[in-house]
């Protein structure tokens, strides 16, 4: 990029081409007053405070809208400018409810700062002011428009970054104020409660309601860490007063989120201070969980597990790790089960989300992770978003898509539901659930027919193309279109756009992976990328969006039954021995894979698995076929659950161990784009609750495998020594550089933003001709609907954290089944009516949510979020597993729906 040289106030500065004069000044630490500027927003030029003098330009241009140019001579301070700026601030103050004494923004209010900067004690102007009632009928955001300065930042961030467009401008002239459609409340206006408006409001007009009167701006300490919800890995700054979090925000320009946060990240932290937190170990005595000391609990667990190993062998013990926990903790967890117990029966929720990605992409490319970076999206011209409700499940990536779409990115949404992203999309391919393979094969055939296949790439970088070509040439496009239920024209448009773009990317998620043909579906996606050569450079790639904050790390560190840290195969005796030697363990580890999540449940029912150690998971809600899971847990001889709250699963535990939340520990998370980032302790854990890693250390040591670390940093040193991808990772480097994307083999390496740039990890990319197979539990006459499950923006997984975070909890408190208006009409049900929904696995009575869109979900499709104990969607799911990765079919379950008479 070209560098521009300009002179500001007599000082020579430089700026990258494309920067505005204001941005160049900010970068050079030259203060220019401003109110309507936010680095996240497009230039606006509304407040007129950043006016400057530029030689050769008439009048007083706003520095926020003028691009820096070579040789420009800028003056930012002069008597004229000072006088104009003073007057502008005075005018703003003349229509501002000056209540700084008790305003929550006092001390971090830009207007207050400007009044001080310009020495304005009493503004020279006075007149009519706005009288608007305070809106505080929602739990999170307070709107006090008497303090609004109409800078438009809330309107713009809601439109430009969030894509929600809840705010617009009302009125004309003096009466212009940002407001919702028809002035309705935020709750009735489609607000997503991301609080982005709160984050950008320069005054006290939009504030975090829960922080009111809790702490003055100067009374808090800020601690920066990584959000513990989804896999995006946002940098969050938590404000703490007296050991309690008051408010969360994102530092501008930092981390993958660059200052943006979603509802969960911004408002979903108060669970950590919830009175129901576990504060002491609990041991079940006479059927009741009673408080116990750590010594007592650790001894009991060590003794019980030891006895079961002695009696039934190490393979009778299994462990479920947690993608919520840190890399260090996951590493220790598998080290404990492998090194102290001697089993590979380790798995975690990745089995239920992206195990098919790991198996599918590993087979096609040699590595089962997101190939490109989040920031890369800005360079793409076309994005296929397949089975990913991005704005709800990965809201910050949703923001990136929204921003890119405004700059011309063409988005094609492939989803049975009219997800929010459809608003930003150029095309929406509303396929039938479970038919991705048919759709992608059809796209590939179109690409072949149009001569858009990248022959050069195929020749140079891949193998197995002939088989794919043969399969595609035998494909009947009309049949394929009918199978997936998408008009052929729409398929053609998307295919041509994707293939002919210079840079096109694929984002996908559970809609592709959670099928008994998940591995095949992932391979179809990989085929598409290789066919067109849309991989290996910026703005391209195959990008599975990982669901949990650290699911990538938990996989990397081998909380999986079929590999060792860094995906090293466990079929090699030498590798196994090397690990055991390193760990100073004398166990004899098998050379075969352990049990996966679902297999562990089966083994528990059959009696082969006697003890299960669960660290931070809630399988009663999160795993398929709830009835079966309950039976499994009941069948166990010994169940230990380590968690932050009592959950649906702790009800079956023999021992419950109180753990610290991600806000109460140090460590690292690895986000969806393979970026390893430091997690910092924000507050102390309550009572005797301990970080999960410390509990494992105590237990492992009690069972004979000594673990002795002074800090998580030492654990990382051990991890990097045994995990090639993490070879160059250390806390020192993370502090210095910030997040690092693996592979990072050594201390000189700065990380790898894009995989497979020159060769694939496995050498040549492998095409795998896969043909469409109907989902096993497809609809029948008795069960004519398809149940598909997913997430909601305001809830996370089994709602353990979001359901205990005041404010978020109230927004979407309980479960429902979503139907499209026509199906609802045919069933004779209205919004809120109760229906009985039945699959071959179980039955539930739930209220109906009739979608406001006529088209969503697709006719015959019923959608349920899986977060809620009161409507556990996973009571209805289950059935076949993917033969390779053992992921269950969660997206296609035949269902009957009947109205329950009131």
């Amino acid at each position: 990029m070209k560098t521009i040289s300009l002179t500001v106030d007599g000082r020579a500065i430089s700026a990258p081409e494309g920067q505005t004069v204001l941005e160049a000044c900010i970068a050079a630490d030259i203060h220019v007053p401003r109110l309507c500027f936010d680095s996240r927003l497009e230039p606006y030029g509304g407040c007129r405070l950043c006016v400057v003098e530029i030689e050769g330009m008439r009048g007083y241009p706003t520095s926020c809208t003028v691009l820096a140019a070579d040789g420009m001579v800028v003056t930012t301070q002069s008597p004229d400018l000072h006088s104009m700026r003073t007057t502008v601030v005075e005018l703003l103050l003349s229509d501002h409810n000056i209540s700084c004494l008790s305003c929550d923004s006092s001390g971090r209010c830009d207007l207050q700062d400007l009044a001080y900067e310009f020495g304005i004690e009493t503004p020279r102007y006075a007149g009519e002011t706005h009288k608007v009632d305070l809106e505080d009928d929602n739990p999170l955001i307070a709107r006090d428009l008497t303090k609004c300065i109409a800078c438009g930042r809330c309107v713009r961030i809601c439109e430009e970054v969030q894509g929600a467009s809840v705010y617009g401008y009302h009125g004309r002239g003096f009466n212009v104020l940002p407001n919702t459609p028809f002035g309705g409340s935020l709750t009735e206006s489609g607000c997503e409660f991301c609080g982005q408006c709160v984050s950008t409001c320069p005054v006290g007009a939009l504030t975090d309601r829960r922080a009111h009167f809790r702490a003055r701006a100067w009374e808090t300490q800020k601690v920066e860490s990584i959000c513990g919800y989804c896999g995006v890995g946002c940098t969050v700054s938590y404000e703490v007063k007296d050991g309690r979090i008051v408010r969360a925000s994102a530092p501008l320009g930092r981390g993958v989120n660059g200052g943006n946060l979603c509802a969960k990240g911004r408002f979903g932290w108060s669970f950590t201070h919830h009175p129901d937190r576990l504060t002491t170990p609990l041991i079940r005595k006479n059927g009741v969980l009673v408080e116990a000391s750590w010594d007592e609990a650790i001894s009991l667990v060590a003794e019980k597990l030891g006895a079961i190993v002695a009696q039934s062998g190490p393979q009778s013990v299994g462990g479920l790790s947690s993608a919520k926990c840190t890399n260090e903790e996951n590493y220790l967890f598998q080290k404990f089960l492998r090194g102290a117990i001697g089993t590979h029966n380790i798995d975690h929720c990745a089995r239920l989300c992206h195990s098919s990605t790991v198996s599918g992409l590993a087979a096609s490319f040699g590595s089962g992770a997101m190939t490109n970076s989040i920031s890369d999206l800005a360079q793409a011209q076309v994005a296929l978003v397949i089975g990913s409700n991005t704005t709800e499940a990965h809201p910050i990536i949703g923001n990136e898509l929204t921003k890119a779409a405004r700059r011309g990115l063409k988005i094609f949404v492939i989803d049975p539901r009219e997800i929010r992203l459809v608003r930003q999309a150029s095309g929406w391919l509303q396929l039938k659930p479970g038919t991705n393979v048919a759709l992608i094969n059809a796209m590939m055939r179109v690409i072949l027919d149009e001569g858009l296949a990248n022959r050069e790439f195929i020749e140079a970088r891949t193998e197995g193309f002939e088989a794919l070509e043969t399969m595609l040439l035998a494909l009947d496009l009309d049949d394929a279109a009918e199978t997936c239920g998408v008009p052929l024209d729409a398929i053609r448009t998307a295919a041509i756009a994707y293939a002919s773009a210079e840079r096109a990317t694929i984002l996908y998620s559970m809609g592709v992976t959670q099928h008994s043909s998940g591995t095949e579906q992932v391979r179809a996606v990989a085929n598409l990328a290789m066919l067109t050569g849309q991989i290996g450079h910026p703005g391209t790639g195959v990008n599975p969006l990982r669901g949990q904050n650290n699911v990538q790390g938990a996989c990397d560190l081998a909380c999986l039954p079929n590999c060792l840290p860094g995906y090293q195969p466990l079929t090699n005796r030498g590798t196994l021995d090397r690990f055991c030697d390193y760990w100073e363990s004398d166990v004899e580890l098998p050379e075969t894979s352990g049990l996966t999540v679902v297999e562990m449940m089966d083994a528990a029912v059959s009696g082969e698995l006697k003890a299960l150690y669960i660290m931070g998971e809630n399988p009663v809600l999160s795993d398929p076929d709830q009835t079966h899971v309950l039976e499994a847990l009941e069948s166990l001889e010994f169940l230990v659950v380590q968690d932050i709250f009592l959950t649906e699963t702790t009800a079956y535990a023999d021992v419950v161990l109180p753990a610290a939340t991600f806000l109460e520990k140090n460590g690292t998370f690895t986000n969806t784009e393979r970026r390893i980032q430091l997690v910092n302790k924000v507050v102390d854990a309550p009572g005797q609750a301990l970080p999960d890693g410390e509990i494992i250390v105590a237990l492992s040591s009690a069972m004979g495998l000594a673990m002795d670390y002074d800090s998580p940093s030492e654990i990382m040193d051990e991890m990097s020594a045994v995990t090639p991808q993490y070879g160059g990772i250390s806390y020192r480097r993370l502090r210095e550089i910030g997040g690092i994307q693996w592979p990072c083999p050594d201390d000189d390496h700065l990380g790898t933003p894009i995989l497979h740039t020159k060769t694939f990890t496995r050498g040549r990319g492998e095409f795998a001709p896969v043909t469409y197979r109907p989902a096993p539990d497809s609809p029948t006459e008795q069960r004519p609907f398809v149940l598909t499950t997913g997430r909601h923006l305001w809830n996370f997984h089994t709602n353990t954290m979001t359901g205990a975070s005041g404010g978020l909890r109230e927004l979407n408190p309980s479960g429902y089944v979503e139907l499209n208006p026509r199906d609802a009409k045919e069933l004779g049900v209205c919004d809120g009516d109760m229906v009985r929904i039945t699959s071959s696995h179980g039955s539930l009575d739930v209220p109906v949510h009739v979608c406001t869109s006529q088209h969503s979900p697709r006719a015959g499709v019923a959608f349920m979020p899986f977060h809620f104990a009161d409507a556990p969607a996973n009571r209805l799911t289950g059935g076949e597993l993917d033969p390779i990765c053992k992921i269950p079919d969660l997206k296609v379950t035949a269902l009957s729906i009947t109205r329950i008479e009131a």
């Binding site: 230039p43 606006y44 030029g45 509304g46 407040c47 007129r48 405070l49 006016v51 009048g59 007083y60 706003t62 809208t65 003028v66 691009l67 104009m84 007057t87 502008v88 005018l91 703003l92 003349s94 229509d95 020279r124 102007y125 007149g127 009519e128 300065i149 109409a150 438009g152 617009g168 401008y169 009125g171 004309r172 002239g173 003096f174 009466n175 212009v176 011309g408």
Partner: protein
Amino acid sequence: MIAPDTSTPRAAYEVRVCAGSACVANGSLQIAQRFEEAIARNGLAGSVRVIKTGCHGLCARGPVVVVGPDGVFYPAVDLDAADRIIVSVLGDREPVEPLLFRESPGADSIARYADVPFNARQQRIVLRNCGVIDPESLDSAFAAGDYVALSTALATMTPEQVIEMVRDSGLRGRGGAGFSTGMKWQLARAAEGDLKYLCCNADEGDPGAFMDRAVLEGDPHAVLEGMALAAYAIGASEGYVYVRAEYPLAVKRLRKAIADAEARGLLGKDIMGSGFSYSVSIREGAGAFVCGEETALIASVEGRRGMPRPRPPFPTTSGLWNRPTCINNVETLANIPWIVANGAEAYAAIGTGNSKGTKVFALTGHVHYTGLVEVPMGLTVREMVHEIGGGSSSERPIKAVQIGGPSGGCLPASLFDTHIDYDALASVGAVVGSGGLVAVDKSTCMVEFARYFLAFTQDESCGKCVPCRIGTKRMLEIVTRITEGHGQPGDIETLERLGNLVRSTSLCALGGTAANPVLTTLKYFREEYEEHISEKKCRAHACGALSTYAVIPEKCKGCGVCKKNCPVNAISSVIKEQYTIDPDTCVKCGICEAKCPFDAIIRV
């Protein structure tokens, strides 16, 4: 290629009834119908034809009817007059003397419309067909020469030659900014883009301005032809006419004109077989003044709130949907066919130094002849007001003109020798603007006058930038307070300070010019402000709070009408004796003054 449809033979004798909005509002359509019925009744449809035209110009004397090849002019025609005119038309065709135009009662009649003093100094280029053709008939437009220029240009000129011609003509944007049209086209032509737009700005919002409306109502094809020529010049293939929804007649005629032109291959794909394609759609604005600002107009066409954005990038580089977009005003575009047909030199021969050609003005206020005027650039204000406008319509002298609408400036009578062109007006603080010209006599208070325009711009501010949103509001509050008798020392200085801030720091031209009426009246009529503030006096007796009503004893006959009509019982008297008005009770409604049959009540 384009041949008039000859299936309807041209009538030999034409009765042109003005069907512009003003005359329509005065009942001209009923008059036209009266003529048509009489012609039909007499079986003369073949030889006499009624044409419902666009605006003739002299709106003050509407409904206007112009008859026959000589253009015999009948002002203020009502149904009775129509009946008498038809007798002449169907009979000897001699002018109906009593119905002819007279400058004053008893003066000599003037038979021909062209001979009316109002028309003497005019030169009609933009309005060449207004009042002549039937704007709803493409054939009528053909007959008057519309689309000949387009046909010639497509067949014989390159786009560059068209641009060169328009540049050499010296034409400047008539929407108000006065930027060189040729140069704008050059920029748009040079801009890179797979798709370009040429749009017509018909969002005429100045109070008292109706030039664009008249052109759209009177000769819509001229505008479309101008658009097609401009599109050809810059390489645009699509365009919009952004027109206010408050102009229903203009929208209707434009819509028909587009449909007719498309049906005849004059717009749309492969125009006249030339290979050049250009299609036009209409976007109706919702009445926001600021949408006349081109970036706000773009936002509005895109379906967003009409709010300006900073420039650069200029629309010619990145406009509608981020594509190169050239936006020209109605009047600008209506000039184009004439320039192409007559050449750059012919156009440049009209006008003064940097101000070439003609300009259409909407002349209103306290003059005899209000209406639509097209004059060569360079006439003086005095010529405009006194020769064309016929001077004051009352016995009070004209004391000021506001030129250029609410964005313009106010000039005192002492500057009436100023030439009306871009440079001369700028030198005295006014602008040509879009062409509003309001003349006011001594009964107008200049503070109140400025308040009116400021209230308009404050109300129409989009609210985006602080100076315009709050600055003009505070100014308005101060000016209002002055007119209400609550002015304070220092108010004038505050107005000047705020006015200069608003002018120098506002984002767009609306804000940039919003303070002009106040600043120019402060410059030329400062003493009126000072009197309001320090003496609590309004010399025009226009500010209610500063005026009282009084009875002139010599004139009062004691009839009691005033007392009977006073809504607040402020007038007392002894029967048959003199009446007095209690100033404390009086609410200054003015009913007594209006009702007094002897002009015995005055404002003081």
